[in-house]
Symmetry: C2
Subunit: 453 residues, 2 copies
Amino acid sequence: MTRGGRTTSPDAEVARSVDRATTRTLEDVRDADGLTTSRVQHTQLPCGLRIVTEEMAGARSAALGVLVDVGSRDESDETHGASHFLEHLLFKGTGRRTALDISIAFDAVGGEFNAFTAKEYTCFHAIVLADDLPMAIDAFGDMVTDPLLTSEDVDAEREVILDEIAMHADDPEDVAHNLMAEAAWGAGTSLGRPIAGTVGSIRAMEPDTIRRFHRDHYRPESMVIAAAGAVDHASVVAQVEAAFAGNDFLLGTRPPRAPRPSRPALPVTPGERRVSRPLEQVSVVLAHEGLDRYDERRFALGVLGTALGGGTSSRLFQEVRERRGLAYGVYSFLGHYADSGLAGVAVGCLPERVEETLVTVREELGKVASEGITGAELARGKSQLIGGLVLGLEDPGSRMMRIGRAELNHGEVLGIDEITERVNAVSGEDVRRVAAHVFEGPEVLAVVGPDGA
Amino acid sequence: MTRGGRTTSPDAEVARSVDRATTRTLEDVRDADGLTTSRVQHTQLPCGLRIVTEEMAGARSAALGVLVDVGSRDESDETHGASHFLEHLLFKGTGRRTALDISIAFDAVGGEFNAFTAKEYTCFHAIVLADDLPMAIDAFGDMVTDPLLTSEDVDAEREVILDEIAMHADDPEDVAHNLMAEAAWGAGTSLGRPIAGTVGSIRAMEPDTIRRFHRDHYRPESMVIAAAGAVDHASVVAQVEAAFAGNDFLLGTRPPRAPRPSRPALPVTPGERRVSRPLEQVSVVLAHEGLDRYDERRFALGVLGTALGGGTSSRLFQEVRERRGLAYGVYSFLGHYADSGLAGVAVGCLPERVEETLVTVREELGKVASEGITGAELARGKSQLIGGLVLGLEDPGSRMMRIGRAELNHGEVLGIDEITERVNAVSGEDVRRVAAHVFEGPEVLAVVGPDGA
């Protein structure tokens, strides 16, 4: 793979029908013969809606995503669970389509389509053959701009969401990570509450609350449309302009979105939570306050996390599973949010091994905090991060998520070569310093398992 | 996408260093300009080892698989869990590599590598950048032909497997599907027993039992090496010949593998099993005897399964979730084995809705058995199956699994256009007939949930 000819051209390459739409090429990757193998382009419509695409040579399918800058952390006690509830309801029908019409449209072409809600954003996504992309854009545009949100649908979907909450309650790892969020940021805080809501908040949710939530948050300026694979940027832009035109969505005739509730940095509070469940295994999540997603040290922390628990050669896997046989699985994880973050370790083990496992994990975290990692670990961590990044981008779906999230969260899409450079620039001292910063801070512990574990 | 120039050439295109290796091109897909976009080739070495590759134009990564024709159904009471135990042990070191060497080799290049064990086969798989494929082939060859299998490693890995069994015991869906296998074929039968073994069989497993199991079953004639992506067939064959040469593996100097225990067709017995667990949700699996993997009616059954429960427009999703709000998830599944099969429906719901859900599911199965599906459902089921097949083959990993499994299970790799033809040839009457055959047979039911569900 040869890269070259990276260009950033501020001039609009695409003639736009809407005044002052601006289009830029963000990345242009060429092979050894100078042929473009992938190109990332960006258009912002006058209303603020952003469209990013990645044209991939040779792809036959197209991935489409609608990313909305709203999630559980934008909710209050009254609206707790509204982002996720709304995500469900958008599939229930529009002025032009029944729920069944929407399902049939995608199933009939073998496409995948689904959605998920996170703490800070909501994403609708689809993968279809190239010829079916206009249909997918049209359906998503319709769902976003003209959902019915009837009271009957709210009541029917309420039951489905209660089932979903029950399903998560039966998954020990889900329970442990929710418990960790609650322990780290506090129950009822914007980052501490569970994304799906609670049985109580879902039972109490009024249709009007959800309708207002949609009106307040589904705005062009808080939305990114991402497409990757067998796509043509200019066509995608034109199709989006047609498909999202319903209810004057793109005209900016509605008052601008209310200023987002300020997000004062949420401190992570040390502590410990245990939930008793009659399980065979214990799920343990141990974490420290990490970095927010804008922190420049996140590349050093990424290398550290990989060296610590990113694969079977990692320190923790070697110490916990290979040397001591304490657990089947152990891995490190990083969570980055707008104003906070977590850096932690998750492990599943038998109840009688919890204490020895915790001693082992803490010892290794202490060691990297005081001594950093070895030169070999540093080199391996970097090449593992970079190799994984490249290997993880062979399909349109992962490319679409990469550019969509980067645009929504950062307002810029870093090129693969730029990320590679930043990772390669990480020094051993950078890693030691960020390890000390993170792992010498107070610890948060969440444990789910049988009594006494 | 234009297909053309499909050729099957019986002549060896590749000069081989080993006598009488035969190489054939199985599929050659060209684009509108006549350029080959993918080519499937097949080589059989004199010892019986088969190598299938799919060269994909434009891919930068390569997927590698070693598929071995052995799984839990080849085990006895004494060896129950040996296939899976052995799969773990192959990563623990060889004459030339420690376990850590193996892990480092893949982690250092950002590659993924892992393995899984099924009822009828075991698969080791890796995804690496093109330049790292020789390393991956070398490592897998070493692991397969020269594993250490020390008694110390058996004891250490025993604990890891017991942890894994505990983890599966905490997953309601895993428990429900294991319970279904036991209910359908009987506890302790070749298809009825759990793949990982039981706590008792794993505790009792002797190192010599595992060593003998390796010697008996890891034979060139029972193995397929599959590679897809940025690969060159002739190079892969040459690398496999070098990497798998250890311990005279390719020379056929060891006595041929003992004849496989005959597999008399295993009848599915009707019945019901319930396991009580203190869960929020109930996992229900309802199944009928399906088709073995050679049955020509499997294409009709595939269309039927898709129309019944293959997407959100499917009958069961519409009836169970959308119309009645009975469950969060409901889907149909098909299992095909050498001499048996299952066709069923899995659903997760709240305890108070189990009975109504079962009534609804049974009613729909009864309807398709007597009336078949509508013309619209037939057309949609076909295009959904075919579209999903094409969309699911955009990355090297899924191509590798497709050709590897087809060669191991069928001894032939059907081209995508051939599968498309067979699916398109399914008539409404074919579907009705297979629906009656399957769903009018006796029912097997597995339920995991709180008391009284």
